[in-house]
């Protein structure tokens, strides 16, 4: 079953186009990372799912229900950590959770919820005095009330320290293991890499890639960097390497040869170096970092990479 389905969604704000003919499908039971730079349209997409904003064209279906017509029924089964929210300053953390429990007709114990997100000791304090990270934990806790079938988390690690972000990812995994679908957006790659089953990358309101992290890496055609230690640098070896298929650059620094090449060319590179009559004493490869991968998708104008 499909948990989230966007069908040709376009959203215009006055003269700004936030989403362009966006199609998206999130399968039930998966953790889907919705990745993109700020301003790409991630929050607008989530706001369409929650009926906070209405699409100019197209439609969204959540848990088999129409986002416009059946929004209330949808929100009974969805837990949300929205973007740009503000807590009720004068209500305590516990009162916030009680509001959700009552609204969803759930039977969760508010203190247990707050315990799970690590702010049980602040349950009786007014949320207006919470730090950004505590507020984020509170709203994450509110999203968990009533064992929702779908969690929609908009930039959940905002304001969390590394420890808090790790705990948040643990909660996300627990929820997935319980059977929930998790849809969360981020502009931070490490969040997505660490936890997601599948990733979609949004740029300028369009989905430019969608795959597993490994699949994306391959599809991006991102290169590895191969460092080879040789006992002596043979004449002409760099020219020979540059002539190989899949090699984009080859440089030498003393007895270290650095070759940028596709994964499939590594063996050929090593072979060519051996053939030149030098002995390889050591070599290492570095995969393209996710940062570079992300940049390749979201910043570069030279390629539209198809996943």
């Amino acid at each position: 079953m499909t948990a989230i389905e966007l069908d040709g969604v376009t959203k215009r704000f006055d003269d700004v186009v936030a989403l362009r003919d966006l199609d998206l499908a999130v399968e039930s039971g998966e953790i889907y990372g919705f990745l993109g730079p700020n301003g790409a349209g991630k929050s607008t997409t989530i706001n369409v799912l929650l009926d906070f904003v209405r699409p100019t064209e197209g439609s969204a279906t959540i848990l088999g229900m129409d986002a416009r017509e059946e929004s209330e029924a949808i929100r009974e089964r969805v837990g949300v950590l929205p973007e740009g929210y503000h807590v009720y300053d004068r209500l305590t953390g516990r009162q916030h959770v009680e509001f959700v429990v009552e609204s969803k007709e759930a039977d969760d114990d508010p203190d247990a919820v707050l315990e799970r997100v690590g702010i049980a000791d602040a349950a009786g304090r007014k949320a207006g005095g919470y730090s950004k990270g505590m507020a984020q934990r509170l709203v994450l806790g509110m999203a968990l009330v009533g064992e929702p079938d779908l969690l929609v988390l908009d930039e959940p690690s905002t304001g969390l320290d590394p420890n808090g972000a790790r705990e948040m990812r643990e909660v996300v995994r627990e929820e997935r293991d319980r059977g929930a679908t998790v849809f969360f957006s981020s502009h931070q790659l490490e969040q997505v890499e660490a936890v997601c089953d599948r990733v979609g990358i949004l740029r300028d309101g369009e989905l430019v890639a969608e795959d597993s992290v490994e699949g994306l890496r391959a599809a991006a055609g991102s290169e590895s960097t191969l460092r080879v230690e040789v006992d002596a640098l043979a004449d002409g070896v760099l020219e020979d390497l540059r002539a190989l298929d899949g090699v984009s650059s080859a440089t030498a620094d003393g007895t270290t040869i650095t070759v940028a090449c596709g994964d499939g060319a590594k063996t050929a590179v090593l072979g060519a170096i051996e053939d030149s009559g030098t002995t390889v004493s050591d070599f290492s490869t570095e995969e393209a970092s996710l940062e570079e991968l992300f940049a390749a998708y979201t910043q570069s104008d030279r390629t539209e990479v198809q996943a």
Binding site: E76, P82, H86, K104, K126
Partner: protein, 282 residues
């Protein structure tokens, strides 16, 4: 009954704000003060103290200042009710839950009306105790009806403030709009029938008794509708109106119809506000 959760949360929020307590103090001072001032006005000092003092007289005496105090208070209580939540982002928490936007609007109407009603009731109770001690007679039934009517009047202005608040994302615009409505009905409305009369007859000078529609036009403001309903609570008022109108009172100038107008001042602004809020991108 999803709006109940919204109303409860809204009221819980207000209890913790200083506004509710400040209003309660204000209303107690107002009610206690005016109840006492009324004794001073009716009596010199002397043995006949309490001779003419009645709760009905007090009601009549209170009506005018109440008709100014309540709208101003309702505006303070209501102008941020929705626009404030939209501007700050708390609305996203409420609407992430299974509440429709109509639940939010209705819940706010009830919650804010309760917030306004607490100080009104407290003030009225203090005044009642004081009047029971100082006055010659105390008509409890009429007084309770006057209290309920005043709460309804407050609700009408909460509805106006809420309706405008739900129509905009800007609390500044909401405050300006609500205050403009108050000024219109408090200070300018009674000139409107005259202006209409001028347009129809080319003169401001009304020969003889003004036509009935003239009174009806006046009656359309929340303040005048409130006063119109109150006439039913007080003796001799019906006769005075009959005399003013030169005979029978048409239904649209009856106290019953004034109540309809007052209720319309709750329903229509909230409906318009909901309609605008429903179409809003948050």
């Amino acid at each position: 009954m999803s709006w109940v959760a919204v109303a409860r949360k809204d009221f819980q929020d207000a209890i913790r704000s200083k506004v509710l307590w400040a209003l309660s103090v204000l209303f107690v001072l107002f009610a206690a003060g005016i109840t006492y001032v009324y004794t001073l006005l009716l009596n010199g000092s002397g043995p006949q103290v309490g001779r003419q003092l009645t709760a009905l007289g007090l009601i009549l005496f209170m009506a005018t200042p109440v008709a100014i105090l309540i709208p101003l208070t309702a505006i303070v209580v209501g102008y941020k009710s929705v626009s404030g939540e939209v501007a700050s982002g708390t609305i996203k928490l409420a609407l992430s839950l299974p509440h429709t936007r109509s639940d939010v609007v209705v819940g706010k109407l009830v919650g804010r009306t309760l917030v306004l009603s607490v100080p009104i009731v407290v003030g009225f109770v203090v005044a009642a105790v004081e009047a029971a001690v100082l006055y010659a007679s105390f008509e409890l039934g009429s007084y309770v009806l006057f209290l309920l009517l005043t709460v309804l009047f407050g609700m009408a202005y909460v509805a106006v403030a809420l309706g405008i608040s739900a129509s905009t994302k800007s609390t500044t615009k909401a405050a300006t709009g609500v205050f403009a409505v108050f000024v219109l009905f408090q200070f300018l409305w009674n000139y409107v029938p005259l202006a209409v009369y001028y347009l129809l007859n080319g003169t401001f000078f009304i020969r003889g008794r003004p036509p009935n529609w003239f009174y009806f036009f006046e009656r359309l403001s929340p303040q005048n509708a409130y006063n119109g309903v109150m006439m039913a609570l007080l003796p001799n008022q019906q006769a005075a109106i009959q005399q003013q109108l030169g005979g029978s009172v048409p239904f649209y100038l009856s106290s019953g119809f004034a109540l309809v107008i007052l209720v319309a001042w709750i329903v229509v602004p909230v409906a318009v506000g909901y309609w605008r809020f429903e179409a809003m991108d948050l």
